[in-house]
């Protein structure tokens, strides 16, 4: 308590009595005081004073103090108590038996290993061993000769004070300056800190190999647990180089997944499944990896396989749901809100909870690779829902979440690049949002009008979220579909490396990677969609290092390849704004809003620019603006990966990004052929109502609406998926 010292002094001054050792007013030795006290430190002191028996023994009070402290701070050192060592009889019957059996099994096993080791005479790996240290250093004599304060005789003991005098850096520099031939002599000089990822198994007996392989795997597991995935991969590789085992492949796969090296993860899972065809965990991990490299179909197949064996595997179910969502998204004709571009800049902080879980999994592998499916079952059964949710978000990190995070990142960008705006009063801002909103509505209406003119097809558009979505509108032409062919392995790798570097804040290096990827992709004309993405990513890097003009150029290129894609526009806008070209920035923000009216950062950016322009050019600032490009809904590019079906023109997906960057789960689409307008209208009304309810968080009502939708058109998948989402939200 803050007033505690004061109280104490006051008590003391008033002639109160304090304990000698802990200086506690005796009045505090009281039930009511302890009950009220919430200060851990003070309680600890009181408890210690009570235990010391200095003021007498009060067992009840002591007990109460202990309990209170235990409630507040169970880890407190004062509460640590030493128990007498247990015996077998302290365990339950089953545990006793289990322990005994386990031990006798082990004893048996050790007997065989022991004799095996004695009888098996492998070639003693003596030749393989490096020579003794003294001999070793002979090769380095040239180097040693240069060290004035060191003698050539290494064998001779030396005291460490002498070593202290050696300036290592200076010595190293000297060595570096030495001519090459001397360097060549000291072949034994290793590259510093190198951990080789293969081991030479020659000269080892089978038993030794197995033992060593399992040790290397353990090291991998430990490294994995301390989140050192690169090191974990190295150790698993070492283990595999000695003695290939499914468990090591499987663990390396998850480590690769952590490092976002999807292809390698898939290869490892394939290996596991070759060795152990029914390995569920490998299947699940391959699904993760497939999802990572956007092969949703394959991911789906893997997950279905998992679920046939373990229908109740919650993790697999949730992932499958996501994958299916992705699949429908790709198949359907989205309005272009959600771009299936893998963007850099997803958050890293999400992975935490998953890690601990994955840790458990890795460990269970270590215990028994062959029983892994059973273990997964066991694990998943006590998984809490929340953990899983976060898991899945983390797992999708690069796809689902990235759009959102990408958006947020741009927002931050724009904000940080124009400090002037932050000084703007709050009310001002609010006022200004309204006109822009109106404009937004105008644009939306314009689009709608245009669309109305071509009403020969049945596709509906959900208007942007600001516009009331009660009246579905008929729309016509099919959106521009941009094919994203599967990237060649080399480019994929470069891109992934670039993304990882970006996340790690190594923008300069990321640019190098992207540039290489660009160079390769330039030779492949059908990869224009991918090229655009990479330009866009490189633009993000350039904006991060303050290269505004470079960023703008890259965005231009990206837009040349795929016009009207939203990310490059937003990035260009931010870059224009940062280089104080507010007119162009304003135009770009507006351009972006024409495509997706719900982008909060774009609204803000436009407002900021408008403010600046008004200050600069006065009331008639608008006259000096270059024209704002207008976009028709069908012009908005839809990205789709190569292996999925080309979207049919009659399906629409609309997923909105809410301003806060939260994913808006409401998803509206409809399949199918023309129906009688009355039914159709009712269907859409209900669906829109459902979507609205979802947005408001009223899932129960939404479920009712969707159920009615289903009764109208049982064939339409969307009502089911939307309802499923609501059920999920309600944890049903």
């Amino acid at each position: 308590m803050a007033e505690d010292p004061a109280v104490r002094t006051a008590a003391y001054n008033a002639g109160g009595y304090c304990t000698k050792t802990h200086n506690i007013p005796v009045e505090h030795f009281e039930y009511s005081y302890i009950e009220k006290c919430n200060n851990v430190k003070e309680l600890e002191k009181i408890l210690l004073a009570l235990r010391s028996g200095e003021e007498g023994v009060f067992p009840h009070l002591e007990q109460q103090c202990e309990n209170k402290l235990r409630n507040l701070h169970p880890e407190s050192r004062v509460l640590r108590e030493v128990k007498p060592i247990g015996t077998l009889r302290d365990l339950s019957k089953e545990e006793q038996i289990e322990l005994k059996d386990d031990l006798s099994d082990w004893l048996q096993q050790m007997k065989t290993t022991d004799t095996k080791l004695k009888t098996e005479t492998g070639i003693l790996g003596d030749e393989k061993l490096p020579p003794p240290r003294a001999v070793n250093t002979k090769t380095n004599e040239a180097k040693l000769a240069n060290k004035s304060n060191k003698s050539n005789k290494r064998v001779k003991p030396r005291d460490y004070k002498e070593w202290d005098k050696v300036d290592i850096d200076a010595e190293l520099e000297k060595i570096d300056k030495q001519p090459e031939e001397i360097k060549a002599k000291s072949v034994n000089k290793p590259k510093s800190g190198k951990l080789v990822d293969t081991l030479d198994p020659t000269g080892l007996t089978q038993a030794e190999k197995e033992l060593k392989a399992s040790r290397e795997k353990d090291k991998g597991n430990e490294a994995f647990r301390s989140a050192d995935y690169q090191e974990a991969v190295t150790y698993y590789s070492r283990s595999l180089s000695l003695c290939p085992s499914a468990a090591s492949y499987n663990n390396r796969a998850i480590a690769y997944v952590k490092l976002c090296k999807w292809k390698k993860a898939i290869e490892d899972c394939d290996q596991v499944l070759q060795l152990e065809p029914g390995n569920i965990k490998a299947c699940f991990r391959r699904a993760l990896a497939n999802k990572g490299c956007k092969d949703f179909q394959a991911a789906k197949e893997d997950l279905e396989q998992v679920l046939t064996v373990e229908p109740h595997n919650k993790k697999a179910q949730e992932l499958l749901q996501q994958v299916e969502e992705e699949l429908t998204k790709v198949k359907d004709k989205p309005k272009g809100r959600r771009l299936e571009i893998e963007e850099v800049g997803s958050s890293d902080s999400e992975g935490e909870e998953e890690e601990t879980k994955e840790n458990e999994e890795v460990c269970s592998d270590e215990n028994d690779g062959s029983k892994s499916s059973k273990l997964v079952n066991g694990l998943s059964s006590h998984d809490s829902k929340t953990v899983e949710n976060s898991n899945d978000i983390a797992q999708t990190g690069n796809c689902t979440a990235s759009d959102i995070w990408g958006e947020g990142e741009i927002e931050n960008n724009a904000e940080s690049s124009s400090p002037v705006i932050s000084a703007k009063p709050e009310s001002d801002k609010q006022e200004e949002t309204n006109p822009s909103l109106n404009e937004k509505v105008d644009i939306a209406n314009k689009t709608v009008d245009l669309v109305m003119e071509k009403t020969d097809k049945t596709v509906t558009v959900d208007p942007p979220s600001e516009v009331s979505s009660d009246n579905p509108v008929q729309e016509a032409p099919k959106p521009r579909v941009v094919l994203l062919p599967v990237l060649p392995a080399k480019v994929l790798e470069l891109k992934e490396e670039g993304n990882t570097l970006y996340k790690a804040g190594q923008y300069g290096e990321a640019i190098e990677k992207y540039t290489k990827a660009v160079d390769i992709l330039h030779t492949m004309p059908d990869h224009y969609g991918n090229l655009s993405t990479i330009y866009s990513n490189r633009a993000a890097c350039k904006s991060k290092i303050g290269d505004c003009s470079g960023c703008i150029k890259d965005c231009d290129r990206a837009l040349e390849l795929v016009p009207h894609s939203i990310k490059p526009i937003l990035r260009r806008a931010a870059a224009y704004e940062a280089s104080e070209r507010f007119r162009q920035a304003y135009v770009d923000f507006k351009y972006a809003l024409g495509i997706d009216g719900s982008i909060h950062s774009a609204h803000q950016g436009a407002d900021r620019c408008r403010h600046m322009l008004q200050r600069e050019d006065g009331v008639r600032w608008r006259e000096k603006l270059p024209p704002i490009p207008s976009v028709l809904a069908y012009e908005i590019p839809v990205f789709t990966s190569d292996n999925s079906a080309i979207p049919s023109p009659s399906v629409t997906t609309a997923t909105t990004l809410s301003a806060a960057g939260d994913r808006n789960e409401s998803e509206a689409d409809n399949g199918g052929s023309q129906r009688r307008p009355s039914d159709e209208e009712r269907f859409f009304k209900l669906k829109a109502q459902g979507n609205d309810d979802v947005q408001k968080g009223n899932f129960k009502r939404a479920i009712e609406s969707y159920t009615q939708c289903i009764s109208l058109y049982p064939g339409r998948a969307v009502s089911y998926t939307n309802r499923a989402l609501c059920y999920l939200r309600l944890n049903q």
């Binding site: 247990g86 322990l99 031990l103 490096p130 005291d159």
Partner: protein, 355 residues
């Protein structure tokens, strides 16, 4: 989470003072070292069998044994290296104990501690043994080189010769890198880099250093635990060395007396047991911080220490527990000796859940 239970499986009272005990790798056997009241060295080999330990063979040598290790021997040979009161380093073939296969008078005084690396598939590079002695020196031996150490670290002329109580190998993750850590009676800890032949780091933790151990010998240095006389131990994060601040560390109070020993679980480097002067055992788990590396104001990397949590705390004896060894082959099985002349085989259950 259920706590691990520490269970006394076998207790055996012996008629000599026990100093050290080590499992024979890939077997259910262990060696016990000590001295007889008449001042001779005792070495006994036991095997665990069905709730008891069986004495396989024993031998008595002229000088008392203080410490031993299998660390530098191959798995097939499993030769045992011992350090004795008279400063002798000897290597024994346990099958025929008549004469040592290697013997050298390495130190002028008692060898307090010994450690080995490069054998048993643990640690890459040459097999080496390190000994620390009351004569203040730390010497590194290669069993293939007779008579002379391959490296020695001792105080210079006119320097105080501090009693070296404990030595440990670490950092042996490739053919060339290797470190020796030594703890002294005045609280000094010195870290010698054998590759560069330099003193890489030193610190003082105020109280005599009873035991140091790396969490693993055969990986890039990760953690180091040092225990002291005055009921404290320190855990250093060895991944990041700051040029002036050195390694990040945490301090923990335990045992209310000398912390004699620390031993990491071979199957999980983040779990370790400390043994106390009042016959207590404490089982700890190290929790890594969110970020292991941070930067100081000059943008120089420095480590961040994690925390330790006490998993279990039991009292086993009234006398100091001088040695403890985890079975490398069976998780949770360990053997320990105390100055009450009792050897105990102990089982720690449910360690898996803390992995």
């Amino acid at each position: 989470m259920e706590k691990p239970q520490i269970i006394a499986h076998v207790q055996k009272s012996l008629n000599f003072t026990l100093f050290d005990t080590k499992w024979i790798p890939c077997s259910a056997k262990f060696v016990v070292l000590g001295n007889h009241p008449r001042g001779t060295g005792a070495l006994q080999v036991y095997e665990v069998s069905h709730g008891d330990v069986k004495l396989l063979h024993e031998s008595e040598k002229s000088s008392s044994f203080k410490c031993g290790t299998f660390g530098a021997s191959s798995l097939q040979q499993r030769n045992f290296a011992t350090g004795a009161f008279d400063g002798k380093l000897q290597i024994w073939d346990l099958e025929s104990m008549q004469i040592p296969i290697y013997s050298v008078k390495g130190h002028k005084e008692i060898i307090n501690d010994i450690d080995g690396v490069g054998g048993l598939g643990i640690g890459e590079g040459a097999p080496e043994i390190v000994t620390g002695s009351r004569d203040g020196s730390v010497k590194v031996w290669d069993p293939r080189q007779k008579n002379d150490p391959v490296a020695a670290m001792e105080p210079g002329e006119g320097e105080d010769k501090r009693d070296c109580w404990t030595v440990a190998f670490g950092h042996a993750y490739n053919q060339h890198d290797r470190c020796v850590c030594a703890g002294y009676d005045n609280g000094d800890i010195k870290l010698f880099d054998l590759r560069n032949m330099s003193l890489r780091w030193e610190t003082n933790i105020k109280n005599g250093v009873c035991c140091v151990e790396f969490d693993r010998k055969d990986i890039s240095m990760n953690k180091l635990v040092a225990t002291t006389l005055e009921s404290k131990f320190h855990v250093f994060d060895m991944r990041t060395q700051h040029p002036t601040k050195g390694f990040a560390s945490l301090t923990e109070k335990a045992h209310k007396s000398t912390v004699w020993n620390v031993r990491h679980l071979p199957q999980n480097r983040d779990i370790f047991m400390t043994t106390g002067g009042t016959g207590t055992l404490c089982l700890w788990k190290y929790n890594y911080p969110d970020k292991r590396v941070t930067q100081d104001s000059d943008k120089v990397d420095m480590g961040v220490a994690g925390t330790v949590s006490l998993l279990q705390n039991v009292t086993m004896s009234t006398q100091p527990i001088a040695s403890l060894d985890w079975s490398p082959d069976k998780q949770g099985l360990c053997v320990c000796t105390a100055f009450d002349q009792v050897l105990r085989v102990v089982i720690v259950t449910k360690l898996n859940r803390h992995l």
